[in-house]
C-alpha cells in the first residue's frame, strides 16, 4: 500500500518540478539500405524509417497519457550516414539529408540524428562527402542533426578533421545567417562519442547497436533543485556529503521513471529497450535549470569559483543514483550545461560570471562540453578549430566524452544576443580571449597521438 506522503510527493515532482522524460529516441539501422545507387539508398531509407517509426509518436503519446508522465521529445537516430550512404558524393549527401528531413516530418518526430561520421583516425570518401555536405544539409532541413567524432582516447585527435570542422561550422553559420547561424545548433563535434546517445544533436545509432532500439533521456534539474531546497529548508546545516545523498536519491527516482516509460514504449513498438541516459538536461524554463542548482548550493552563479567542484559533486551523485536505478545506463549520462538552453546559465554568461575558459574547465567534470556556445560571427575557422581541439583533448586524456557545439553568429559580436528559438533558447555571445592567435598550431595538421593510457590491453 502506498502512503499518503509517497503519493503526494510523487505528484509534486510531476506537477511542479518538471519531472518528465526528455526524449524517447528510436534507433533505426540503415545499414541494410546501402546501395551503390544513391537514389536507391534514399528510397530504402525513407521507406524503412516510415515503416519502423510509423507508430512512434502515437505509442509515446499513449504511454505518456497512461502514466501521466510527459514525453517531451520523440526522436529518431539512424546509422551514421557516412557509413550507410558511403557511395554518395557531397551533392547526394545533401539529398539524403533532405530525404531524412521529409521522413522525420512524415512520422511527426522532432529531430532525426545520424547525419554523422566517425573520423578520429582518418577519412573515408563517404566521410569527406558528408562533412562537405553538412552546411547545406543543415541550412535546407529543419530536423536533421549532425555529429562528427574527431577524436578518441584510442586513436588520439585527428587535427585535420578538427580544422575541417572549424571551416564547416563557419560555413554552416553563414548559410543560416538569417536565423543567427542556427545550422550550427544542429551540429556537434565529439571526442569519444557514445554509440547510443538519445539526446540531440549527438544522437546516432552506432554500428554495434541492434537493428532497432529505444533509448531514453531522462530529465530532472527541476526535481533535483526542489529536493535540495526542501532539504536545506528543513535543515540548513546539511553538509555536502548529505547533499550528495539527496541528489543520488532524486536521480534514482528520475531514472526509474525514465526506464519504466522507455520500456513501455519499447513494448508498445515491439522494439528492444536499450539504455537510459542519466543526463540532467535543462530547458529554457524557470525551474528547469542546471544553473539554478548552483545557486541552491550557495554559489552566486554558475561560473564563479567553486562551480567546478559543485558540478563534480552533482554529476557524480547523479551517476551513482542513476546507476543504482538502472542496469542499462548509456549515452552521455552527466549534467548538461548548454549555455543557450538553460535560462540561468545564459544569464550567467550575459553577466560575465561564466566565461569560455571557465566553461571549458567545467566540462572536465561533466558530460558533453562546450554546448550551445554563441561566439562572434567573425571567429576564424582556425580559432573555432583550436577551441574544439582543446575540448577534444580534455575528453581524450580523461577517457570521457566531450563535445563542442559552437555557433559563430553571423554579423554579431561579443555581448550581442543570439536567438535560436524553442528549446534551443537564446544566449549572449561570449568573447574569445586571444582570438586569431592559433592559426599556426592548427595549420600543422596531422593526428595528435593517442595518450599512453590508451595502451591498457
Amino acid at each position: 500500500m502506498l502512503t499518503h506522503k509517497e503519493v503526494l510527493s510523487t505528484l509534486e515532482m510531476l506537477r511542479n518540478e518538471h519531472l518528465d522524460v526528455r526524449t524517447v529516441t528510436l534507433g533505426i539501422s540503415l545499414l541494410d539500405c546501402a546501395s551503390d545507387d544513391p537514389a536507391r539508398f534514399v528510397d530504402r531509407a525513407v521507406a524503412k524509417i516510415g515503416a519502423v517509426a510509423r507508430d512512434l509518436v502515437k505509442v509515446c503519446d499513449e504511454v505518456a497519457l497512461r502514466y501521466g508522465i510527459p514525453i517531451v521529445n520523440k526522436r529518431i537516430a539512424v546509422s551514421p550516414i557516412a557509413v550507410a550512404a558511403c557511395a554518395c558524393g557531397p551533392d547526394r549527401m545533401v539529398e539524403v539529408a533532405r530525404a531524412l528531413d521529409r521522413a522525420a516530418k512524415e512520422v511527426g518526430i522532432d529531430f532525426i540524428g545520424g547525419f554523422s561520421a566517425m573520423v578520429e583516425k582518418g577519412f573515408t570518401r563517404g566521410d569527406l562527402a558528408l562533412i562537405e555536405a553538412i552546411p547545406e544539409a543543415l541550412a535546407t532541413t529543419d530536423r536533421v542533426c549532425s555529429s562528427i567524432n574527431v577524436a578518441s582516447t584510442r586513436a588520439g585527435i585527428n587535427m585535420d578533421a578538427v580544422y575541417l570542422m572549424g571551416k564547416t561550422i563557419r560555413r554552416a553559420a553563414e548559410l543560416t545567417r538569417d536565423r543567427d547561424g542556427i545550422g550550427c545548433a544542429k551540429l556537434v563535434v565529439f571526442a569519444n562519442i557514445p554509440q547510443d546517445i538519445p539526446f540531440m544533436a549527438g544522437a546516432f545509432l552506432g554500428v554495434g547497436e541492434p537493428e532497432t532500439v529505444i533509448n531514453v533521456g531522462v530529465s530532472g534539474p527541476g526535481v533535483v533543485k526542489k529536493a535540495l531546497e526542501r532539504a536545506l529548508g528543513a535543515n540548513p546545516k546539511l553538509d555536502l556529503g548529505q547533499i550528495s545523498e539527496i541528489v543520488k536519491h532524486t536521480a534514482f527516482k528520475v531514472t526509474k521513471v525514465g526506464e519504466l516509460i522507455g520500456r513501455r514504449v519499447a513494448d508498445g513498438l515491439g522494439v528492444p529497450f536499450g539504455v537510459a541516459d542519466l543526463s540532467l538536461a535543462p530547458t529554457p524554463n524557470v525551474g528547469d535549470s542546471v544553473g539554478e542548482i548552483f545557486q541552491t548550493l550557495g554559489l552566486g552563479s554558475i561560473g564563479v569559483p567553486g562551480s567546478t567542484a559543485a558540478l563534480a559533486l552533482l554529476n557524480d551523485a547523479v551517476k551513482k543514483g542513476g546507476a543504482f536505478a538502472s542496469s542499462y545506463v548509456g549515452g552521455l549520462s552527466g549534467a548538461f550545461i548548454p549555455v543557450s538552453e538553460d535560462l540561468n546559465i545564459a544569464e550567467s554568461a550575459r553577466l560575465g560570471f561564466l566565461s569560455l575558459e571557465k566553461l571549458e574547465a567545467l566540462t572536465s567534470v561533466c558530460s558533453v562540453g562546450l554546448d550551445m556556445v554563441a561566439l562572434a560571427g567573425d571567429t576564424s575557422p582556425e580559432t573555432l578549430a583550436a577551441i574544439i581541439a582543446d575540448e577534444m583533448a580534455i575528453g581524450v586524456i580523461n577517457r570521457k566524452t566531450t563535445a563542442a557545439r559552437l555557433i559563430p553568429v553571423p554579423g554579431k559580436k561579443a555581448g550581442d544576443k543570439a536567438r535560436f528559438g524553442g528549446l534551443l533558447g537564446e544566449a549572449t555571445i561570449m568573447p574569445v580571449r586571444g582570438a586569431d592567435c592559433s592559426a599556426g598550431f592548427i595549420s600543422l595538421g596531422g593526428r595528435i597521438p593517442a595518450p599512453i593510457h590508451s595502451l591498457n590491453n
Partner: protein, 183 residues
Amino acid sequence: MSKVILSVVGHDRPGIIAAVSRVLFLNGCNIEDVSQSILQTEFAGLFIAALPKSLKIVNLNDRLMEALGVMGLSVSLSEMEPSGTWKSPPSEPFIITTMGADRPGLVAAITELLAGFEVNISNLKAVFRGGDNPLENTMIYEVDIPVALDHNLFREALYKRGGELGLDVSLQHREIFEAIHTV
C-alpha cells in the same frame, strides 16, 4: 471448515487486537487475514478467521461480545459465503488523487462515477480538514481499471467531474509510484 468475517469498531486504545485475537485463539480459530485502521479517535478492525467444526458461529459471537462489550467495542460477525463473490475482470492498477476545498458530496460524486465505469476501488484514503490547504483536503483512491475500458473516455469523464466539483484531479498508473518509491 467455515470462515467468518469479524469487524470490531470503537474508541482506539492499546489492547483491542490482543483482546480479539485472544478470544479467537481460545476458541480454536485460525486468523487468516487482519487489517486495521484508525480514523481520528476511532479504531476499526477486520478479521477473517477459520472456525473449528465444533464451534458454532453464534457461540463465538457471544464470547466476543462478552470480552469486547466491556471495552465499549461493537462487534459484527458473519459467515463468509463462498458463492456470489464479485470476480475482477483483467485490470490495471491506477491511482486517482483529488485535492480541493471540502464540501458535502465529494466522495459520493467521485465514487458514483467510478461505479458507473465498473472501476473497483481497492484502497481509499480521504482526509478533509477544511481550509484552503490542498494537502489537508485530499482523496487518494487506489483503483483497478478494466483493461477493456476506453481509457480516454474514463479519463475525460473523471477530469470533467473533478472540474465540476472544484477539485484538482490526477489519474496515474500505479507503476509510476512504485518505481519511484521502491528499491
